[in-house]
């Protein structure tokens, strides 16, 4: 907003010999860029990131629950878990968003688009993360479970204190990957009227007719968010590596 003010209020002071048209154009470009910067960033911080955080947290809870059901071989619930994963992974996210949002709206119920988006994203991502978690749980050596039993621990104690922490470490990189994907997928919820970052960009384009400029800008914004998340992932991995001998060959 500050830049905006400066550019609008200060009268042109360029010498006459500079091509006015070029100056006008770059001025306009700069104006649009600075103006839209905040208009894109604010929904990014206020909607895209919170939506990502809330939906992913819920997705993780779903994933751990669904993975444990399968790992523990709980009858009936296990079949339900498989059907859930089958349906979610077999249908497009955008269709799921439309189905829930417009489906429920069509029945005459008012539904908060943000809540709906968070719910659908969580349920969707939960199915993928559940598979990641299941693979990670199965990768924990069976001997860990047996050692726990022999130490007198109960199943749930071994799972919570021994198996799950190790599985989480294994699953951390692929889960980070999922988080990154989901952050970008939040752009789809623009289509169910959630005013997130991408919708903000679309609105600016509709007003300015500068798709190349504005979509580049929003792409860069996603890139910055992704970069921060990737950086957090590396920090997290470093912390978790304390008990995992990351076997890097000392020599090549």
């Amino acid at each position: 907003m500050l830049f905006y003010g400066i550019f609008c209020c200060s009268p042109p002071f360029y010498p006459e010999n500079i091509d006015r048209k070029v100056t006008d154009m770059s001025e306009r470009t700069l104006h649009i860029l600075t103006d839209s910067f905040w208009k894109i960033l604010v929904p990014g911080l206020k909607v895209t990131l919170p939506l990502t955080a809330v939906a992913f947290a819920m997705a993780l809870v779903i994933a751990i629950f669904v993975a444990l059901i399968q790992f523990a071989n709980v009858k009936v619930l296990k079949q339900i878990a498989r059907v859930y994963i089958w349906i979610i992974r077999g249908t497009p996210l955008i269709v799921q968003l439309y189905l829930v949002f417009y489906g429920i709206s069509g029945l005459g119920y008012l539904i908060n688009p943000f809540v709906c988006a968070a719910f659908v994203l969580a349920v969707n991502e939960g199915a993928y993360c559940a598979e990641t978690m299941r693979a990670a749980l199965e990768a924990v050596p069976a001997g860990q479970m047996e050692a726990g039993y022999c130490a007198g621990m109960k199943y749930h104690q071994i799972i919570r204190r021994i198996v799950l922490p190790q599985a989480m470490r294994t699953a951390f990189p692929p889960l980070s990957n999922s988080l990154l994907s989901m952050m970008k997928d939040t752009s789809l919820v623009a289509s169910i009227t959630v005013a997130e970052m991408f919708m903000a960009a679309q609105r600016i384009v509709a007003r300015t007719y500068e798709p190349l400029l504005v979509y580049t800008e929003v792409a860069l914004m996603y890139l910055v968010f992704s970069t921060v998340l990737t950086w957090l992932q590396h920090l997290g991995e470093k912390r978790l590596n304390r008990y995992r001998g990351v076997k890097k060959a000392a020599v090549r």
């Binding site: 047996e146 039993y149 022999c150 130490a151 007198g152 922490p165 190790q166 008990y243």
Partner: protein
């Protein structure tokens, strides 16, 4: 009557019987070595005794309580396991826990012991196996021999009535077996009841008071160490000992 009696234990994984009715009697303070060629069912026997594998038939009497394999309640299994400990061939230390936490986990979590008390025991047990400078090391930061000694510390911390050892040194480099056997020797001297599957004939000869020779899922011969090593009655025992002696030399521990 012994503290632990196994009668007619059977196990079939689906491709023929692996245990064909093994009997076993353990008295308090016994150190029993179980010898036998690969595939003879030694590991399976130990695992069935601690319910890591479900035996198909046979009975177990432990501390005066009688159980029939295949019909033991979950609750009883949990209770029985708290009186025993298991040392695995590949250590199976909790990979996300330090040496000390590995030892205290069974105390604080399974036996609800206060943390400080458990830590004191943990320190004492790790000192006992010669790891007083490795409390806070994670398994991946320890050598195989050190890991197995942590596993032994974990086993004795809960004061079990018997410890099952399944080839505790066979995953170790030769130069590391000595430190583990030494700890086991000390445990035996302290009067711990131990059931040890091993290929270390030297250990069996010098430490155990009873030796069992298994083959093909059955006990072929049993007796004192002197009887089995000095004067084996069965030809199969003799053949096995000849072969093993040629392989790694009896008594290399002495």
């Amino acid at each position: 009557m012994g503290m632990l009696e196994i009668k007619g234990i059977h196990k079939d994984f689906g491709e023929g019987e692996v245990l064909k009715g093994v009997d076993l009697s353990v008295n308090k303070g016994d150190v029993i070595a179980i010898l036998g060629p690969s595939g003879s069912g030694k590991t399976t026997l130990l695992r069935c005794m601690n319910f890591l594998e479900a035996a198909d038939g046979g009975t177990m009497r432990f501390d005066g309580e009688e159980f029939t394999f295949g019909h033991v309640k979950k609750k009883d299994i949990a209770r029985l396991r708290k009186k025993t400990a298991f040392v695995f061939q590949n250590y199976n230390l909790f990979l996300n826990k330090t040496a000390l936490q590995n030892v205290t986990e069974g105390l604080t979590v399974a036996r609800k012991m206060p943390k400080a008390e458990a830590a004191a025991i943990g320190h004492k047990m790790l000192d006992k196996v010669g790891l007083s400078d490795r409390y806070d090391y994670y398994p991946h930061q320890l050598s195989g021999g050190q890991q197995q000694r942590v596993a032994i510390a974990r086993a004795i911390a809960t004061e079990p009535e018997i410890i099952y050892f399944d080839e505790p040194t066979s995953a170790l480099d030769p130069e590391l077996t000595g430190e583990v056997l030494e700890v086991m020797r000390q445990l035996a001297a302290d009067g711990m009841t131990m059931l040890v599957v091993t290929h270390e004939l030297g250990f069996a000869k010098t430490v155990s008071n009873k030796v069992i020779f298994m083959e093909g899922g059955a006990v072929v011969e049993e007796g004192t160490a002197e009887e089995i090593f000095g004067n084996p009655k069965q030809e199969r025992t003799r053949a096995f000992l000849r072969l093993e002696t040629k392989d790694d030399g009896v008594g290399k521990e002495q």
